[in-house]
């Protein structure tokens, strides 16, 4: 059974930027400079956190998208990963209404962290890359 704390409302941090890529999305954490790619289901779940949502609300939306009860652990794993990576933070506002994301086919949600972060210290405001010695 979930504790009330476990069902807090969570929201994407203000310095987390997400953008659609093909049928999934990319989520960039501007604080850590790590970025993550999601599949369409992961992206649908991540979008719920843009306006704030709870674990229960995510479960409910996923069921509407065709998730069976057996899929709840993998949904929770994705939410736990978003929390542990610091992509979302708890907020004291009620969960927003479920957004109108449509999902044709339910597939297991994924959130893949890319191993190398983007540059934290840049060469210049035009050239972020590390130069090689000539």
């Amino acid at each position: 059974m979930q504790s009330p704390i476990d069902n807090r409302c969570w929201m994407l941090r203000p310095d987390v930027v997400s953008t659609v890529l093909n049928d999934g999305a990319v989520i960039l954490d501007l604080r850590s400079k790590f970025f993550f790619s999601t599949n369409p289901t992961g992206w649908a779940i991540a979008q719920m956190f843009e306006t704030g949502t709870t674990r229960d609300a995510v479960h409910g939306a996923c069921r509407k998208w065709g998730a069976a009860d057996a899929s709840i652990p993998e949904i929770n794993a994705l939410i736990d990963q978003m929390i542990s990576e610091g992509l979302v933070e708890p907020v004291n506002t009620p969960a927003a209404a479920t957004n109108g994301v449509a999902m044709a086919t339910w597939i297991s949600p994924t959130l893949s962290k890319h191993p190398e972060p983007l540059q934290r210290i840049m060469v210049s405001a035009f050239d972020p890359g590390l130069p090689l010695a000539e």
Binding site: P14, D15, V16, V17, T19, V20, L21, N22, V26, L28, L30, R31, F35, S37, H114, L118, Q119, R120, I121, M122, V123, S124, A125, F126, D127, P128, G129, L130, P131, L132, A133, E134
Partner: protein, 339 residues
């Protein structure tokens, strides 16, 4: 003791830098001369009227009432930049200070009296690069540190992404010799346009190392051109002087090469990249600030393009271009990245 104050003559200069016109006022005319090399490189024509940004560059000390930036917005080896409302406040290692009011399109750069004049000039340059990058972005353009190649008779381009020093210019030069054209060897501006992304040239100059003459004899005479920085042997050379007629002003990117150099590997290796890795390549060539609103514009432009690109990881051996067949194999591979 009284101090004699000599009124210095002010100098003014204006530079068209893509979609931005910089109107500069200096209280030290020698600084204008020193910055001319940086600012005159943006010589590609621009089709629309430029947005004007007024910049004053003067000697002195930064205002004491403004806290020194810590680099929350952006941090480079030379600069720490913070945002304060519409102002970007930037401070360099030797104390060159800039306040760029993006709303009013005005900037003030204050240059300290410092014994290391060369470093001071380099850090003023870095402030102007920051100013330009932000001004271009606020006009809807995404600055991308990448080269580009367009095959003869086509209007689609392949973007060539790699950090400085990996060999973008060498790669591009090898194809220019075979009749390909370019938007430039390390800078383009991108903009979403009618559901697509267009790339535009900023400069008609290439950054050539004299040693490339070993492979490409036509550049043998570039040694007479001045080095553009004390940190490199490279010369900033007008493309027209080496490969006349092979520049182009705009193209639609449909391909991407992530270029890597192999010290001891095979001469040439090419493998496909998926769209996520293509986006990874693009994001590593864009200076993305920590401000979410500013970052979102840049990331969404890169993502809009990455989903449509045919991309490849191209690994080039150190002496790849000593083999005359390498350029032909590259040409064939690049054509596969274009419709």
């Amino acid at each position: 003791m009284s101090l004699a104050v000599t009124a210095q003559k002010q100098c003014t200069a204006a530079y068209l830098c893509g979609p931005v016109k910089l109107s500069l006022t200096f209280d030290d005319c020698s600084l204008q001369t020193a910055l001319d090399g940086l600012l005159s490189q943006y010589d590609a024509p621009w089709p629309a009227p430029a947005t004007e940004v007024f910049v004053t560059i003067e000697q002195g000390l930064p205002p004491a009432h403004i806290p020194e930036p810590v680099g929350v917005y952006l941090r480079s080896y030379r600069l720490r930049v913070d945002r304060c409302g519409t102002h970007l406040i930037s401070f360099s290692n030797v104390g060159v200070w800039m306040d760029f009011d993006e709303g009013e399109k005005q900037a003030q750069i204050i240059v300290p009296h410092h014994p290391d004049r060369e470093t001071v000039v380099e850090e003023v340059e870095q402030q102007l690069v920051l100013l330009l990058a932000r001004a271009w972005t606020s006009q809807g353009w995404t600055p991308l540190h990448a080269g580009s190649l367009i095959p003869p008779g086509k209007t689609n381009c392949v973007l060539v992404c790699a950090p400085s020093g990996v060999g973008k210019t060498t790669f591009i030069s090898a194809l220019l010799r075979r009749g390909w054209r370019t938007l430039g060897d390390d800078k383009v501006l991108l903009q979403k346009e009618n559901g697509s992304v267009v790339a535009r040239a900023l400069s008609r100059r290439v950054h050539l190392h004299p040693a490339l003459a070993n492979w490409f004899p036509e550049i043998r005479k570039i040694e007479k051109w001045p080095r553009y920085s004390r940190w490199t042997e490279k010369r900033m050379v007008k493309m027209e002087a080496i490969w006349p007629g092979q520049w182009i002003d705009s193209a639609i990117p449909t391909g991407l090469v992530q270029l890597e150099r192999a010290e001891n590997g095979p001469t040439l290796n090419i493998e496909p990249l998926d769209s996520v890795r293509a986006l990874n390549s693009l994001l590593r060539q864009i200076a993305i600030p920590s401000d979410a609103a500013d970052a979102r514009l840049l990331v969404s432009c890169a993502a809009a393009m990455a989903g449509r690109l045919r991309a490849a990881l191209v690994t080039v051996g150190n002496n790849a271009f000593s083999d005359s067949s390498t350029a032909g194999r590259l040409e064939e591979a690049l054509r596969g990245l274009l419709p």
